[in-house]
C-alpha cells in the first residue's frame, strides 16, 4: 500500500524529505490558505512542489463560504509550479476546480458524513474526474471491501489525529488576550472526560480526539478491503523518525511503536461501527409505534382519561403497557365522554373510563395483545 503523508507543519518537511527521497509515497500539502489545520506557507508549498512535483496533492478540506471560493484563483501560481492534484471536501470547491483548472486531477475528501456505497457512487457520477476517494474512520473495513465495485482508488486513514470538532469561529484566544495566528492548548470537560487538544488558527477553532488513530497493525486488513493508499499524519507524533523507519520496513513491532507515539491510540471504527447502539435508550417511548392511544390522567380506583385514535366500545378489552414496561389487559367500563355523558362507544379523541389498577398516566393503549404485530417489552425499536 502506498503511504500518503499529510503534512500540516513545516517543521516536518525535513523529517519527511529523508523518507521520501528513498521511498515511494505521496505528500498531502496542508496549505494555510486551504486546509483546516495546515500551516504550510506559500513558500513551503512552492518548494515542495518544486522538489516532489506530481507526488504532491494539495489539501483543500475547508468548507468555503461564497467569497472563500475566490481562493481558487490562488492556485494559479501553484499550477505553474507543477501542482497536478487537489483533494477537496466541499463539492462547491470541486466544481470550481473543474471549471478553473480542468487539467487538475481531483480527489474527494470524504472523511465525514459519507459512509454508504450508493452515496459514493453518486460522488463518482457527479465528478467523473475523481481519481481517488479518501474515506473516513467511520467506515468499518469489512464494508470498505464492498466499494471495490466503484472502480476508484481508495485511501483509508491509518495514523494520526482525529478532528472531531471544527468551527469557523475563533473561540479561545479572545479570552486570553492573545492573537497568535496559531494557538494550541488542552481543554477538559471534567474528570470523567479526557483532555482534548484544541487548536485555534486562521480557519477557526478545532478539537482533536484524545486518542490518535493507529491502524498500522491493520495494514493487511486494509489491503484485503481493497484500500490502495494509507493516510498517515505525523502531527503530534513524538518520534516521527522511528515511525517512518517502521513504515519503511512494514513488519515492525507495532505494539511497541504504538506505545511510543506520545498519545493513547484507537482503531476508530475500523472493526465495527455501532454508534447507533445506544439510541434505544434515548427514547423508550418509540415503542408506541403501534399504540392506538395514551392514558393522559388517572385517579386511582375512580377514573382514567384516555386519548385514542380509533373507536372504543364499552366492554372492549384493551391492552396497556404501563411506564414500567409491564403489560396489562382489562375491559373498558363506565365509558363516558370527557363532558361526563355515558356512552356505548367513542370515535376516538379524549374520553373517560373506570380506572384499571396499575395503569397510570403515560401508559400506552393497544387494541391487541403484544404478539408479533405489536412491539412487546423486549422488542427492538425501529432504528
Amino acid at each position: 500500500m502506498q503511504p500518503v503523508f499529510s503534512l500540516e507543519e513545516p517543521q516536518l518537511i525535513p523529517v519527511l524529505s529523508d523518507y521520501l527521497n528513498q521511498n515511494p509515497g505521496e505528500l498531502l500539502l496542508g496549505w494555510d490558505k486551504t486546509s483546516i489545520l495546515g500551516r504550510l506557507s506559500d513558500a513551503d508549498v512552492l518548494a515542495l512542489l518544486a522538489e516532489y512535483g506530481p507526488r504532491c496533492i494539495l489539501l483543500w478540506d475547508a468548507v468555503e463560504n461564497q467569497s472563500g471560493l475566490d481562493r481558487v484563483n490562488l492556485l494559479e501560481p501553484l499550477c505553474r509550479a507543477g501542482l497536478t492534484r487537489v483533494r477537496a471536501a466541499d463539492p462547491g470547491v470541486l466544481r470550481c476546480l473543474v471549471q478553473h483548472y480542468p487539467q487538475l486531477e481531483l480527489e474527494a475528501d470524504l472523511r465525514v458524513g459519507n459512509h454508504n456505497r450508493d452515496g459514493l457512487a453518486r460522488w463518482k457520477a457527479q465528478f467523473p474526474q475523481l481519481k481517488r476517494m479518501a474515506l473516513g474512520v467511520e467506515w468499518p473495513l469489512d464494508e470498505v471491501a464492498s466499494l471495490t465495485e466503484l472502480a476508484i482508488d481508495l485511501e483509508y486513514p491509518a495514523l494520526g489525529p482525529i478532528l472531531i470538532f471544527h468551527s469557523p469561529r475563533p473561540l479561545i484566544q479572545t479570552h486570553l488576550e492573545s492573537q497568535e495566528s496559531y494557538w494550541e492548548g488542552q481543554v477538559q470537560a471534567d474528570e470523567k472526560h479526557h483532555a482534548l487538544t484544541v487548536i485555534e488558527n486562521q480557519r477557526g477553532t478545532h478539537l482533536l480526539y484524545n486518542k490518535w488513530l493507529f491502524l498500522l497493525d491493520q495494514l493487511e486488513a486494509m489491503k484485503q478491503a481493497g484500500v490502495a493508499f494509507m493516510g498517515l499524519s505525523l502531527f503530534g507524533i513524538s518520534e516521527p523518525q522511528r515511525l517512518l523507519h517502521a513504515i519503511r520496513n512494514e513488519h515492525a513491532d507495532w505494539a511497541a511503536l504504538r506505545k511510543s507515539l506520545g498519545h493513547p491510540t484507537t482503531r476508530g471504527f475500523s472493526k465495527s461501527n455501532r454508534t447507533d447502539k445506544q439510541f434505544k435508550h434515548l427514547n423508550p417511548r418509540r415503542r408506541k409505534q403501534e399504540a392506538m392511544g395514551l392514558v393522559l390522567d388517572t385517579k386511582s380506583g375512580i377514573y382514567m382519561v384516555l386519548e385514542c385514535r380509533d373507536r372504543v366500545r364499552e366492554g372492549q378489552i384493551l391492552h396497556f403497557q404501563i411506564p414500567e414496561g409491564d403489560w396489562l389487559e382489562a375491559p373498558i367500563t363506565r365509558l363516558r365522554l370527557w363532558t361526563g355523558e355515558p356512552v356505548d362507544q367513542v370515535q376516538g379523541g379524549c374520553f373517560l373510563a373506570c380506572h384499571v389498577p396499575r395503569v397510570s398516566a403515560g401508559s400506552l393503549v393497544f387494541s391487541e395483545a403484544p404478539d408479533g404485530n405489536v412491539p412487546g417489552p423486549d422488542s427492538d425499536p425501529a432504528v
Partner: protein, 395 residues
C-alpha cells in the same frame, strides 16, 4: 435588496417533534412544518411520529393549507439504506411536500423511488453557490444553507443557483459546522450525525491548567427576528425555526412572532417588534450575528451568563372543546392564584377564568397537579391553544 414588487412572504417553517406540536404549529400559523418518522432522522430523543401519526400529520397540514416536510437527514450506512425505498414509497403515498436529506445515498434513493421534492439539509454544510449547483444538478429543489451563512450570501446563492434557499432564523445552534462534528461519536459512542448528539459542546471546559471551566464551545441561541425585513427583502424563501425537542409554547410563540414580523415587513416595510413573544420561554442569550456573517467568540454562551429570565412557562394545553367547555391538561401544578393565560391563535391573550375550573368529574377545584386533566367553561378557548403561566405565580 430585491425590488418591492417582487417581494414575497417567506415561508415560516416550524419544528414538529410530535403530532401535538405539529398541530399547534399549524394552528398558530406555520406555513410548513418539519417532522421525523420513526427512522432516518436526527433526533432519536424526540417523540417523532409513527406511520399512523405521519398520515394524520400530513392530512392535518394539508387540510389547514400548510406544507409537511419529513426529515431523512441522518447519514446512513449501506444496510440502513436498504429500508429506505419502502419508507419513501410510503411518504410518496402520503403526498408529503418534501423530504429533507443530506446524505448523497439518501438523496439518490429518494429521487430514484419517488417524485417527492428534496430539500438539502443543513447537515450538508452548503455554504456557497457552487455547492448549491451540485445539489441542483442532482435534482434538489431547495437548500437549507449552513447555519454560518449570512443573509446576503444566501441571496447571492439563490440568485446564482436558482434554487430555493432556507435559513435557520431561530433556536439553538451548533457551534461546529453541522454534519461535520463527531465529538459524540468518539467520546460517547453515539453518532451525532445519525441522531445521537450528546451536546458535548454545551459542557464547561477547563482550558490548560486553569481551575475555572467555561462553555467555550456552546453557542448562544439564534434570534433573527429583528432581521426579518432583510430576510424578506433579500427573497429568502423559508425561515426555519429550530427545535423539535422544544415545547408547544416555544413552537406557538416563535411561529406567531415570525409570522407577525413577516407580515409587518411586507405590509408597510416597517417592523413591529414582537420580541415579547420570544422572551416568553426559556432560552440562552440571543444573537443574530451568524445571519450577518459575523462569526466570532461573542456568539458563544458562557454558562455564568446564565439563561435569560423567562416570563412564562408552559402551563398546559387545550385538548378538546365541546360548546363553551374545554378539556385541558396541566403540565405544571396550578392553583387558583396562578396567572394562567391562553395564547390565542392570533397572538391575543386570554386569561384563564379559574372560577370555571373543574376536574373531569365536574367538581370545582382549587388546584391541579402536573398532567392532571381539568375542564374550563370559557368559550374563547379552542382546542390546541397553549396555556402559559406567568413565572411570578409559579408554584
Amino acid at each position: 435588496m430585491a425590488s418591492s414588487t417582487l417581494i414575497q412572504k417567506p415561508e415560516v417553517l416550524a419544528p414538529a417533534g410530535n403530532l401535538h406540536k405539529l398541530q399547534v404549529a399549524v394552528r398558530y400559523g406555520a406555513d410548513a412544518v418539519y417532522m421525523a418518522g420513526p427512522q432516518f432522522g436526527l433526533r432519536q430523543g424526540a417523540d417523532n411520529l409513527t406511520h399512523t401519526e405521519l398520515e394524520q400529520a400530513v392530512r392535518f397540514c394539508h387540510s389547514h393549507g400548510a406544507k409537511a416536510y419529513v426529515v431523512l437527514n441522518g447519514f446512513l450506512f449501506q444496510k440502513e439504506l436498504q429500508a429506505l425505498p419502502d419508507f419513501v414509497q410510503f411518504l410518496s403515498e402520503l403526498r408529503v411536500d418534501a423530504v429533507i436529506a443530506s446524505d448523497l445515498g439518501v438523496v439518490s434513493t429518494v429521487l430514484e423511488h419517488s417524485s417527492i421534492p428534496v430539500h438539502i439539509s443543513t447537515q450538508a454544510s452548503v455554504f456557497n453557490a457552487q455547492h448549491t449547483a451540485f445539489w441542483a444538478e442532482m435534482g434538489a429543489k431547495r437548500v437549507i444553507l449552513a447555519r454560518e451563512t449570512s443573509i446576503s450570501d444566501a441571496a447571492k446563492i439563490k440568485e446564482i443557483s436558482g434554487l430555493e434557499v432556507e435559513l435557520f432564523v431561530h433556536g439553538s445552534m451548533c457551534m461546529a459546522f453541522s454534519g461535520r462534528c463527531t465529538i459524540s461519536n468518539f467520546t460517547a459512542g453515539r453518532d451525532s450525525n445519525r441522531g445521537g448528539c450528546e451536546h458535548s459542546c454545551r459542557l464547561p471546559y477547563q482550558l490548560n491548567d486553569s481551575a475555572d471551566a467555561h462553555t467555550y464551545f456552546s453557542s448562544k441561541d439564534l434570534n433573527g427576528l429583528s432581521l426579518v425585513p432583510e430576510l424578506v427583502g433579500h427573497g429568502i424563501d423559508s425561515l426555519k425555526i429550530e427545535g423539535r425537542m422544544k415545547s408547544a409554547l416555544y413552537v406557538a410563540s416563535t411561529v406567531l412572532a415570525y409570522q407577525s414580523a413577516c407580515k409587518s415587513a411586507l405590509a408597510n416595510g416597517t417592523f413591529e417588534d414582537p420580541h415579547f413573544l420570544l422572551d416568553g420561554f426559556s432560552h440562552r442569550p440571543y444573537t443574530a450575528k451568524p445571519l450577518l456573517g459575523l462569526l466570532d467568540a461573542d456568539t458563544a454562551h458562557f454558562q455564568e451568563q446564565g439563561r435569560e429570565p423567562t416570563r412564562f412557562a408552559l402551563a398546559g394545553h387545550v385538548l378538546e372543546q365541546a360548546g363553551d367547555r374545554v378539556l385541558c391538561q396541566a403540565k405544571v401544578a396550578l392553583h387558583a392564584d396562578s396567572r394562567v393565560e391562553a395564547l390565542g391563535f392570533a397572538g391575543d391573550i386570554i386569561p384563564l377564568d379559574w372560577d370555571g375550573v373543574t376536574d373531569v368529574l365536574g367538581r370545582p377545584v382549587q388546584k391541579v397537579q402536573p398532567n392532571q386533566m381539568f375542564t374550563v367553561r370559557q368559550s374563547q378557548l379552542q382546542a390546541l391553544m397553549v396555556l402559559r403561566l406567568s413565572d411570578a405565580t409559579r408554584v
